[in-house]
Symmetry: D2
Subunit: 242 residues, 4 copies
Amino acid sequence: MNRKLRVTIWNEYRHEKEDATVRAIYPNGIHAAIGEGLGDQVEIAYATLDDPEHGLTEERLNTTDVLIWWGHKAHHEVQDDIVERVHNRVLRGMGLIVLHSGHFSKVFKKLMGTSCDLKWREADDKERIWVVSPGHPIVEGVGEYIELDAEEMYGEHFDIPAPDELLMVSWFEGGEVFRSGCTFHRGQGKIFYFRPGHETYPTYYNEQVRRVIRNAVMWAAPVEREYPNYGNHKPLEQIQPK
Amino acid sequence: MNRKLRVTIWNEYRHEKEDATVRAIYPNGIHAAIGEGLGDQVEIAYATLDDPEHGLTEERLNTTDVLIWWGHKAHHEVQDDIVERVHNRVLRGMGLIVLHSGHFSKVFKKLMGTSCDLKWREADDKERIWVVSPGHPIVEGVGEYIELDAEEMYGEHFDIPAPDELLMVSWFEGGEVFRSGCTFHRGQGKIFYFRPGHETYPTYYNEQVRRVIRNAVMWAAPVEREYPNYGNHKPLEQIQPK
Amino acid sequence: MNRKLRVTIWNEYRHEKEDATVRAIYPNGIHAAIGEGLGDQVEIAYATLDDPEHGLTEERLNTTDVLIWWGHKAHHEVQDDIVERVHNRVLRGMGLIVLHSGHFSKVFKKLMGTSCDLKWREADDKERIWVVSPGHPIVEGVGEYIELDAEEMYGEHFDIPAPDELLMVSWFEGGEVFRSGCTFHRGQGKIFYFRPGHETYPTYYNEQVRRVIRNAVMWAAPVEREYPNYGNHKPLEQIQPK
Amino acid sequence: MNRKLRVTIWNEYRHEKEDATVRAIYPNGIHAAIGEGLGDQVEIAYATLDDPEHGLTEERLNTTDVLIWWGHKAHHEVQDDIVERVHNRVLRGMGLIVLHSGHFSKVFKKLMGTSCDLKWREADDKERIWVVSPGHPIVEGVGEYIELDAEEMYGEHFDIPAPDELLMVSWFEGGEVFRSGCTFHRGQGKIFYFRPGHETYPTYYNEQVRRVIRNAVMWAAPVEREYPNYGNHKPLEQIQPK
C-alpha cells in the first residue's frame, strides 16, 4: 500500500461529557487521546455515537481501512442497521480494534457469536499485562509486560471463542487473570481485542498501550484482493456421469 | 455420566414431504435415517420445523445434551426467539452438530459471526473426505478417507472463523476442496460442523458418515460444571490503596 | 473401549530419596501420590528413572494408553533412545500428560520443538489457577479456579508453541501469570501439560489437581484406528497425460 | 524497519548439478529462480549444501532476517550443529520459509516435533491450490486458487502439528488433498510452509507462487524486541509469609 492507512476512531463520547472526572482526564474525548497516540503515520477520522448515523456512513466505512471502537454505557443505542453495516465491512476486509468495554458492543458480540461476558471490578487494581506471544508484530517494541498502576479489573472467564492468537494475559492485584490481547479473523477482516482503557484512568496516554494500538492498526490493515465468489460454481474439471 | 446421552435431532422436514425423489430416499425423513445411525447407545428425540415452537421448547432443550441440525430451504422460517433459545443453550453447554446445508441456518450463523457462505454445485460430484487429524475422537474408526459416489459440491472459500480443530477436508471431482469437518467451542458448548448430506443422496445411510456423527455426539456431550459467574467480582486478594 | 485404560506413571524419583523434606510429603514417591489420585477406574503401572530402561521398555510402552511424566533434576540422564521410543509411541497415539518441571524433559522438548523455557521462583507464592475454557472435559468438575496456598512460581514467557487449546491460566502472588493447562496434538497422540506440582509442596494430594489429572487421562486416551499410510501413493482417479 | 529485509535462500543444489532435466529448468539452481521472484525489495544472499558450513555461518545467520529452505535428497548430509544453529536463530526471531520437500529437512522436523511424513506421487498431477484464509497477508494479490498444470502430489495425512493458520489447501487430479500453506510460530520466529516446487517442474517461475513467497518473506520478518528473560525471577509484588 503506497498511501497512508485510513483509521476511523469511534467513541461513544458520553462519559467525557457527563462526568467531570473523566473529562479532566480526556478533555477532548477518549478518541482524541487514542488518535494522538497513533501519530501521523496514518490518516485519522473520528466518529461518535451522537453523530448522524453514529458517524459511520457508508462512505465513511468504505474509506476506512481500520476502525477503532470504544463504547461502554450506551451500547444499546447503537442502531442495528449500523451494526450490520460495520459487520459487513469487517467481513469484506476492514480491520477492527475493539478496546476495553467495547467487548460488550453489538458489533463485537455479533462477530464473536458468544455473550462476551466477564468479571469486572472498579477498585484501582494494579494491572500487569504480560506478553505471551513475543514474536507477534502487535507487541513489537513492547517490553515483557505493561504495568498500569490502577485500572478496572476484568477477570476470567471471558466468554469469547478461543482467539486465533493470544498475545497478552493480564495479572490483577485482586487475584484475577484475563486474556487481554486477542486476535480473531472474521471473513477477510482482522480483529484485535485489547483490554485496558477504563474511562477513569489515563491509560490511553501510556506509551506502551499506545504502541500496542499503533502496531495493531498496522497489523489489521486490509489485504488487497477481491471478495471471494460464493454461490453456484461451475466445475473446473470434467465430472463423470454416474 | 451414568445415564444415556439425550440427543435431539432437528430436521426441517420439507424436502421429504414435497419431493418424491427425496422421499424415496428418506421415506421417514432425514432425521429418522440419522437417528437410526446413532443406534441405541443414546436416547433420541425428534423435532421438526412444523412442530409447535419447531419442537424446540424450553423443556425439550433443557433435557437435550446434544442437538443435531439439518435444514436447507426454510432457514428463514425458523423464529428468532427459538434461535435465541438454542444459541443460549449452546453457550450453557449443549452440544450442537450442524449438518450440510445447516451451514446457512440462523443458529450456526449466529454462533459463527460470519456469513457462512460457500460455493456449491449439484452435479453428482464424487466426494472424497480425507481425515487430516487422525488422533481426534470424532474420526475414530474411520479410514483414511470416506468416499461418496455422488454428492452436492461445497467449495472454498467457506466463510467461517478458523475452526478450533480441522478434522476433515473434502476433495471434489469437479476440482474443489472444502473444510468438511470442523470443531468450534462457543461458551461451554461444543459444535461440530460436518459437510455431507444433500437430500437427494443416500448419504446418511453410509456407515462411515454415521460413525462420524455417532462419534461427534459423544464428543459434544456437555461437561458437568456450573455456568461461570460473570459481573461484579470482589477481590480475592487485598488491593493496596493508591 | 471396553477395558480399563492402562496408565503408566513415570517419576524421576530422586528428590524423594535424597531430600527428607520431599520424602516427608511423598514417602512413597510422587508417582504413588499421583496414582492414588487416579483411583481404580484405570489400570496403573509405575516406572522410574533408575529402573532398567527407565521402566519404559518396548513392551511397557506398547501396553500403555496414557503416560504421565514427572521429572526435574535429572532430565539429562534420560537416555536418548528411550526418548525416541516414547516420542514414537506418542506419534502413534499414546496419550502423554506432562507435569510441572517435566516442561524441560527431553520428551516434551522434542515434541514441542521449542526451548520450553520459562521464569521460575521458589518463594511460596500463592497460586490461583483460573479456568479459561470451561466447556473442556479436562476441567469437568473443577470450580472457577484452583487455589494452592504455596507453590513454585512459573512465569511467562513460556516458550512453547501456541497450545491447541488453552484451558487454564495461573495467577501468582508475586505478580506473574502462566499458561498452566495446555493441550497439544502430535501425530495421533494427545498431550496435556499441567503446571502445578513442585516436589516440596503437597500439590498432588489436592482434590482439584487430582481431578484435572484424572480427566486428562481420559481425554488423552488413544483412538482406535490404523496408523496412516505414508509414502508413495497410487492415484485414486485417472490422471490425464500432459 | 527502515532498511531492506535480508533474505538468505538456502538450496541443497544437487538435482540441478546431477540431472539434466532439472538443470534445463533451473540452470542457475532453484535458489536463483526463487531469488529472481523476490525482486529487489529485499537484499538476497544464497547458501547451498556444499558451501563451507552449508553457507550458514554464525555471521550469515545473524544477518539474516528470513531464511528460505529448499532441500530434498540430501537432508541427512546437513550437519546437526548447523541444524542446531538454524533452530536457535528461529527461536530468536529469524523467519523461516520451508518449501516443498523441505518438509523432511532436519530443521523443519526439529521445529515441528513430528515425523512430517506424507503421501507423495510423481505423476504429473494437476494441482489447484485453494485459498482458505483470504484475509491473510501471505495470500494478498493471489486469486481464489493457483493452478499448476503438473506437479508432484503430496497427500494427507501430513504429519505436522495443527498449523497456527491454515492458508491454502491443494486439490490433486489423482484424488488427494493437502494442507499446502501453513503458518507456525516457534519461539519468536515465524515459519511458513509452502508445498509446491518439485525440481522437475518450473513452479518457481509461476507468478502466483512467487507472489506467495514474496508475501511470506514480508510476513516472516522478525519483530524488534529483546529475547525474553528466562530463569530465576524476583517477585514484582510482596509475597506474604506462610
